[in-house]
Amino acid sequence: MSTEITTDVVVIGAGPCGLFAAFELGLLDLKCHFIDILDRPGGQCTELYPEKPIYDIPGFPVVTGQQLTDNLMAQIAPFAPEFHFNRMVNSIEKQADGSFKLATDADEIFNAKVVVIAAGGGSFQPKRPPVNGIEAFENTSVFYSVRKMDDFRGQDVVIVGGGDSALDWTLSLQSIARSLTLVHRRAVFKAAPASVNKMQELAAEGKINFLTGQIASLDGENGQISHVHLTTDAGDLSLPATRLLPFFGLTMKLGPVADWGLELNDNTIVVDTEKFQTSVPGIFAIGDINSYPGKLKLILSGFHEAALMAQAAKAIVSPGERIVFQYTTSSTKLQKKLGVA
C-alpha cells in the first residue's frame, strides 16, 4: 500500500528558491514538505557548482553554491520542513474540495492545499549515452541505477564510466554477476583511488574485465540486449551482454512537469507577477521554472517570488484570515516562530 501524507504545502524541488519558500511560508504558519529527485538539497547550486562562488546574492559579497544551500537550510530549520529525497513527482491532480493529490515514483501520495513548483531547469536525471535505439532497452536490460541487486545476479553485466558510481557498482556486482566488464574511455578515473586499485586487482585476478573504449551500438530484441558493440583503441569489439549500466552523470530534463496541464511557454510555466500562480489556481511556480515578462533566471528573483507567493498561498490555506504585514526585526510573534524570542 502506498504511504499517504497530508500537509499544507508541497514544494516540488529543493533548489535555492524552493528552500527559501519554506521560510516565507513558515512565517505564515504553513507547513511544507519537499520532494526532490536528488539525494540532497540545493538543486543546481549543489549539483552543478557547489564550490563555485556566487557574487549576486544580496548581502553576501561572495558565497559558494554549497554555502548558500547550507545557510538556507539553517534559515528554514525553525520551521522543520520535511524532505523526501530520491523521488520524482509524477502527477498532480486537483480534488473536488480544491486540494491536490500528488503521486511520486516511490509509491507515495501527498495531499496538499497548495502546490509550489520550484522545479528549476527540470528534474536531474541520468544522462542517456548517445547510442541509437537505447530507449527500447531502458528499464528492462539497460539501467541507470541499481534498485535491486538481484536484477544483476547471473547476468553478463557491462558497466560504463569512470566515476564513483561506475567503480562502486563494479566492485559490488562482480561477485553476483556471471561476467562483468567495466568500460571507460581512458585508463584515468575520477573515482576514489581505493576503488580504482581494488578494480585493478580484480581485473588482474581475471574476476572482471576492464576495457578502454566507448559504446558504439547495441543489439537485442524485445527490450533485451544481447551484445554491446564497442569502439576501443585496439579496434571494434563486440561483447555478449544481458545488462548494461551506463554512468555518465546527470542532466536536467523538464520531465513530468510538462504533463500537468499547466500553461507552458518554451518549457517554463507561465505565472502572473502578483502571486506567481500558474494557470491552475492553488498551484504556484517560482524560480527558474516560471516565466513572465522580464523574467531573469536569478536566485534573487526566486526569493522575491517566494515571498509574494507565500501571501497568496496563505489566503488559500486559511481563507478569511487577515494577514498582518510584519518585520522579522521587530515582531515578537515572528521571532517566536523563529525560536529567537
Binding site: 557548482y49 563555485k52 544522462k127 548517445p130 547510442v131 574511455r185 581512458r186 551506463p246 555518465f248 542532466t251
Partner: protein, 106 residues
Amino acid sequence: MKIVVTDQAGADHELEGLEGWRVMEVIRDWGLNIKAECGGALSCATCHVYVDKDWTAVVGAPSEEEEDMLDSVGDVRPNSRLSCQILLSDALDGLKLTLALSAAKD
C-alpha cells in the same frame, strides 16, 4: 570574426562572433542545438564539439579538468572539446567545428 558550425543534422552555419566570447556562447546565442546546461562552468559537458582537423593544433588540447568532464559523454573523439572552454581570438577567425550528439537539447 566568424566561426563555421556544423549542427547534428549536418547543416553548416556561419556565425558572427566577438573576440573574448566563449565559442559555446556564440553557438547558443545563434540558436543552434546546444544545451550548455551549466552556462560555461565546466560542470555539464553538454557543450561538446568536435574541432575540425585543420584547427585542432590552433585550438589546443583540453585541460585535465576538461578531460575529466568529457568522461560524462559517450561520444568522445580525439578532437573533442567543450566549447565553453574555447575563447574566441583573432587566431580562431574562421574556426570550424561540429556539434556532438551529446550537446543536443532533449
